[in-house]
């Protein structure tokens, strides 16, 4: 009798007799067939699926670009901040920043836990020539002479000056102060040094002419960084007009700044995501009459509901994963090797002195998984549900044509 060899006996009714050792091979073969069929099905509707794939990839690319860039900027800021002082002390006058008297340095040195105190001289300078603000800072460790300065690479680029050139700044007395550029600052730290101009203490005094024995603020080194907050409390008690700023607070400010900028971009992209979700739902969830007919035929010729679901699962996975991997890879290249031109103006901020720097390539696994869950899972579900609905329908309807 044809077909009889496939069954063990009447009691095990019609269950295929695969030997146990072949189960894995059979399972793999089955998945292979399902993928084959799915690919063929996708190719049969290639215009529709290619369009969907392109939009999907673009969406992942945009989201991944924002995430990778903002994460990269945060990481960059955090790395640079590692060398920042643990504690900065400013003097406030009626809540406004004021110059700090030199006598305060001795008071600060006397506080337990403080190992070193240094007064800093720095200030902002508006250059009408390029309509940009520079950050001027005295750098005694650089050993600059009275007329020598070092400038950030971006500043040099914008002012079109280089080593050996003179940069003329307008001093507090209205007279021009010519300063000679002796070096450019390292471009790897351009995120922080873009608008920086380092100068000697005497040049700073000539330029701003601040009262004698005053500083802009003071930087403190503490013996145990974990006690920084306690020391800050002691400083406030000893010098009620002071404002201690912790390194962690600066980092948090950077973080909040990037979060805020990231939020603006995501808000804009949100509309795009919504449009995509509607499109994806329409494309994936709305089975065409031909697709429904195909599912009916497959059921009628012996495919289980589970086989149809597996096939739809492969379909959703192949499209969404291809789009995800392509979009993410493109975003990675764009952010880390292409200068992140797409979102840099928003995420880095607007400025005349626009820093140019290359982020260190890195992938945050948690971020990757969240993006994967947000973009891939909804699409797979959108593919599965209509497939399941069609698969549980009676195949008899197909036979009736």
């Amino acid at each position: 009798m044809p077909g009889a060899s496939r069954y063990r006996d009447c009691d095990t009714v019609l269950l295929p007799a695969f030997p146990d050792q072949n189960e894995m091979r059979t399972w793999l073969e089955r998945q292979n067939y399902l993928i084959d069929y799915t690919l063929a099905a996708l190719l049969r509707r290639k215009t529709r699926n290619l369009g969907l794939l392109l939009v999907y990839t673009l969406l992942v690319f945009l989201f991944a670009s924002v995430l990778l860039l903002s994460q990269g900027l945060r990481r960059e800021a955090a790395t640079l901040m590692q060398d920042a002082p643990e504690l900065i002390v400013q003097k406030l006058n009626a809540g406004r920043h004021d110059l700090l008297p030199a006598a305060w340095l001795d008071t600060l040195r006397g506080i337990r836990g403080v190992s070193a105190v240094r007064g800093r001289l720095w200030g902002y300078y508006y250059d009408p020539a390029v309509k940009a603000n520079y950050t001027l800072m005295v750098a005694p460790e650089r050993g600059l002479t009275a007329d020598a300065i070092m400038v950030g690479a971006t500043l040099a680029r914008v002012r079109e000056v280089g080593v050996g050139d003179y940069l003329s700044l307008r001093a507090a007395n209205g007279q021009p102060l010519p300063l000679k550029i002796t070096a450019l600052l390292d471009s790897t730290s351009e995120l922080l040094s873009a608008d920086l101009l380092l100068l000697s203490e005497s040049a700073f005094h000539q330029l701003f002419q601040p009262p004698a024995d005053t500083y802009t603020d003071a930087v403190l080194t503490v013996r145990n960084p974990r006690e920084a907050r306690t020391i800050a409390g002691k400083i406030t008690l000893a010098l009620p007009a002071s404002r201690p700023i912790l390194r962690a607070e600066i980092l948090r400010t950077y973080d909040a700044l990037f979060n805020w900028r990231e939020g603006i971009v995501f808000l804009t992209l949100g509309t795009l995501l919504l449009a995509f979700l509607i499109l994806a739902w329409d494309k994936a969830a709305g089975l065409s009459a031909e697709e429904k007919r195909e599912i009916g035929i497959l059921k009628a010729i012996g495919w289980e509901t589970g086989d149809i679901l597996r096939m739809k699962l492969w379909e959703g996975t192949l499209i969404s994963l291809t789009a995800f991997l392509t979009g993410y890879a493109l975003a990675y290249v764009q952010v880390f090797y292409g200068g992140a031109r797409l979102f840099a103006p928003v995420l880095k901020g607007w400025a005349v002195l626009y820093p140019e720097f290359r982020l260190t390539p890195a992938v945050d696994l948690q971020q990757l998984l969240v993006l994967l869950a947000v973009t891939v899972l909804p699409y797979i579900v959108a593919t599965l549900i209509p497939g399941w609905r069609a698969a549980i329908a009676d195949p008899d309807a197909v036979m009736r044509g």
Partner: protein, 227 residues
């Protein structure tokens, strides 16, 4: 042996367009031979074959296969039965467009995970047997009616079913092709398969391989003749 006991099928039950396709049909079909279900359009032939082939469940009554009740089996087991016991040739062929003849024939075996080489060989052997060996790579939409019918027949046989069900197998074919298909079905019946055909084509009803003729009218069996 397939047994139907007081089987009824009502479509759109309780709705204004309710349709009683089969009314308390009782029937026993022995293994082997070629049985033709004859009757005018709307007499319940296709519905009966659908129920026998486990493509749908009866509204009432019992259907059993070799003593095992099919009508109350869960869907998963019903699929197993459908996959291994029955092969279907649909009136409209129901081949999957865009796929080749070979792929269409192999489709019912995909969920079984048979080794690819073995499955391809089996499909090619069937196509050769039905004179389609030159068409294996052709897309099914390029086939003539007769070729599509034979492809559908090959697909129905890929899982080596014991029962072959063909719904109006000659409806879309000319006389020559009808004769060809009937000869193939007769050959299969002669090999020990149970062949169940629905048709209102007099050529089918009077064909030589037919062993039993069951006449239906308005969902009732009105004649049962051994040939």
């Amino acid at each position: 042996m397939i047994e139907l006991s007081a089987v009824s099928k009502i479509f759109h039950q309780g709705q204004p367009n309710e349709c009683r396709a089969l009314c308390a049909v009782s029937l026993t079909l022995q293994r082997g031979g070629m049985t033709v279900f004859k009757g005018p359009s709307g007499s319940g032939k296709t519905t009966l074959l659908t129920l026998v082939g486990a493509l749908a469940r009866p509204t009432s009554g019992r259907i059993s296969l070799d003593g095992r009740l099919l009508s109350n089996l869960p869907e998963r087991f019903l699929t197993e039965v459908r996959r291994h016991t029955f092969g279907f040739v649909f009136q409209q062929f129901n081949l999957i467009r865009g796929l080749s003849v070979l792929e269409n024939v192999m489709l019912p075996a995909y969920p079984l995970g048979r080794p690819h080489r073995e499955l391809t060989q089996a499909a090619q052997a069937l196509l050769e047997r039905f004179g389609l060996d030159g068409k294996t790579a052709s897309r099914v939409e390029w086939l003539s009616g007769g070729e599509a019918q034979r492809t559908a027949l090959a697909r129905a046989l890929i899982n080596d079913p014991a029962v072959l069900i063909a719904d109006e197998p000659t409806a879309n074919l000319d006389s020559a092709l009808s004769g060809e298909v009937l000869a193939l079905l007769g050959e299969l019946a002669a090999q020990g398969r149970t062949v169940l055909i629905s048709s209102h084509d007099p050529r089918v009803c009077s064909a030589a391989p037919v062993t039993r003729l069951i006449e239906l009218h308005d969902g009732h069996i009105v004649g049962d003749y051994a040939c």
